[in-house]
């Protein structure tokens, strides 16, 4: 089956022979390994990507389902070497320790800012409810997001 979709701003046409999930298509076939696989059942948020402007866990989406869609992964955030303000703030506030949750966390945050550039703290907390981080205790992550919102 051929799947045509827009990935990080570029048109892609991929032929898949076996049924697979979106996360497998991204990591195994397209070698975009920024998207991480944690729990595989939609609970940890490490595999979060954006489909048609909405944050989704790519472990719960079948590859065939993105046909005709627009997908953004963590690789699609920076413009070459130039990071987004959100990514800069993650570094500035120490919102990263082991880094495993970071791509998913960034994508949930990015999806929130796409919809609402000036979210409240409560909206920020809701947006990352589905992203587990076992290192930071969330505070630096929320701080990085609040700073990004206030710079808007």
């Amino acid at each position: 089956m051929i799947i045509n979709f827009k990935l990080n701003g570029k048109e892609k046409s991929v032929t898949i022979s076996n049924n697979k999930r979106l996360i497998d298509l991204l990591r195994d076939d397209l070698k975009l390994t920024g998207t991480k696989e944690g729990c595989s059942i939609g609970e940890c948020g490490a595999c979060t990507v954006i489909i048609n402007g909405k944050a989704v866990t790519s472990c719960l989406v079948l590859a065939q389902q993105v046909d005709g869609c627009e997908v953004i992964t963590v690789e699609g955030l920076a413009d070459g070497d130039k990071l987004t303000k959100l990514q800069e703030n993650f570094m500035k506030y120490g919102a990263i320790q082991c880094g495993f949750c970071t791509p998913g966390m960034l994508m949930s945050a990015y999806a929130l800012f796409l919809e609402n550039p000036t979210p409240s703290r409560e909206e920020i907390e809701t947006a990352i409810e589905g992203n587990l981080c076992r290192c930071t205790g969330y505070k630096p992550i929320i701080q990085a997001m609040i700073s990004t919102a206030s710079e808007e």
Binding site: M1, N18, N19, K20, R21, D24, S40, I41, G42, E43, G45, T48, K54, A55, V56, T57, C59, L60, V61, L62, Q64, Q65, D67, S108, A111, T126, A127, E129, G130, N131
Partner: protein, 291 residues
């Protein structure tokens, strides 16, 4: 492992009917996929034998919420996020919005559908208690035609419904409430986000002066499947609103739950919680402090 099913993506209801008519065994409808896809990975027997998977997300009629003839219809591919944001639903069915907000996480709500929630019929399905108190019906299509059935009859046993292999639920039909109802939805999980309900309840109450004119109550995770307590509802209509009445309701519901589930290891904990929680819920919404 992901099974090697054949994937279909019909673009119209007619195309869907044709596909349902051609296929025989082990057909499964795919809407949000948030139960099916992890089911593959966890090798759940309910999903690994799927041979034909029909994705209904490209059928425009199934993606809409509309109001007509005193009813609101929610299509089978409408997600929880879409329900939460919809003005019609927010206006008429606030308990459904409240329940939808407690489902999973943003990522889950962006994919998972409200119809998929009760077609899967897990005992913990959060949409079921509010849909039951709002007297939801559902429309089912098959190659032979379509029929409408009350949700309360459609749900049979945990993970089991009336749905046949060549059928697909296409929409939920909710009558727009004609009375002024006070109501609430309550969910207790092990944590606040991404949690599976341990206890869930919804109620609606219509009062005139200080008298209960109409009462509706439905359970979620505390009974094997979501159910209405029709006898209790009737028994308390015409009663005066007071703390004593609310205690009696809470006690009656607790006894009925116990009758349905039998004694379990968790009963000593859950039963007092159900009763106390329901009492507080009624008191908070309809009792002295709210007047």
């Amino acid at each position: 492992m992901i099974p090697q099913y054949k994937y279909y993506r019909p673009k119209t209801l007619n195309e869907l009917k044709n596909i349902l008519g051609q296929l025989k065994d082990n057909i499964h409808i795919l809407a949000g996929g948030t139960d099916i896809v992890p089911g593959f990975i966890q090798e759940s027997k309910r999903f690994t034998s799927i041979q034909d998977l029909i994705d209904i997300n490209s059928i425009p009629e199934l993606k809409t919420i509309k109001e007509f003839d005193g009813k609101v219809s929610i299509g089978a591919a409408v997600t929880f996020s879409e329900v939460i944001k919809n003005e019609i639903i927010r206006k008429y069915f606030p308990l459904l919005v409240k329940a939808a907000q407690t489902v999973g996480s943003v990522q889950i709500r962006n994919r998972a559908t409200i119809v998929g929630n009760f077609v899967n019929n897990a005992p913990c399905a959060d949409s079921v208690p509010p849909l039951l108190v709002y007297d939801a019906s559902i429309k089912i299509i098959s190659p032979a035609g379509e029929h409408i059935t009350p949700l309360s009859k459609f749900l049979l046993n945990p993970y089991e419904t009336q749905l046949n292999k060549n059928e697909c639920v296409t929409e939920i039909l909710l009558p727009i409430p004609t009375n002024n109802y006070i109501g609430d939805f309550y969910k207790l999980g092990r944590r606040s986000a991404v949690s599976i309900s341990r206890i869930s309840l919804a109620f609606l109450l219509h009062k005139e002066e200080n008298i209960i004119k109409e009462f509706r109550i439905a359970s979620g995770a505390i009974t094997p499947i979501g159910k209405r307590f029709y006898e209790i509802e009737k028994a308390f209509e015409g009663k005066e609103i007071s703390s004593e009445t609310f205690m009696e309701i809470a006690s009656a519901v607790g006894e009925e739950v116990l009758k349905t589930t039998g004694l379990r290891w968790s009963t000593a904990y859950k039963l007092p919680v159900v009763q106390q929680m329901l009492y507080q819920l009624l008191e908070r919404n309809a009792g002295g402090s709210s007047r």
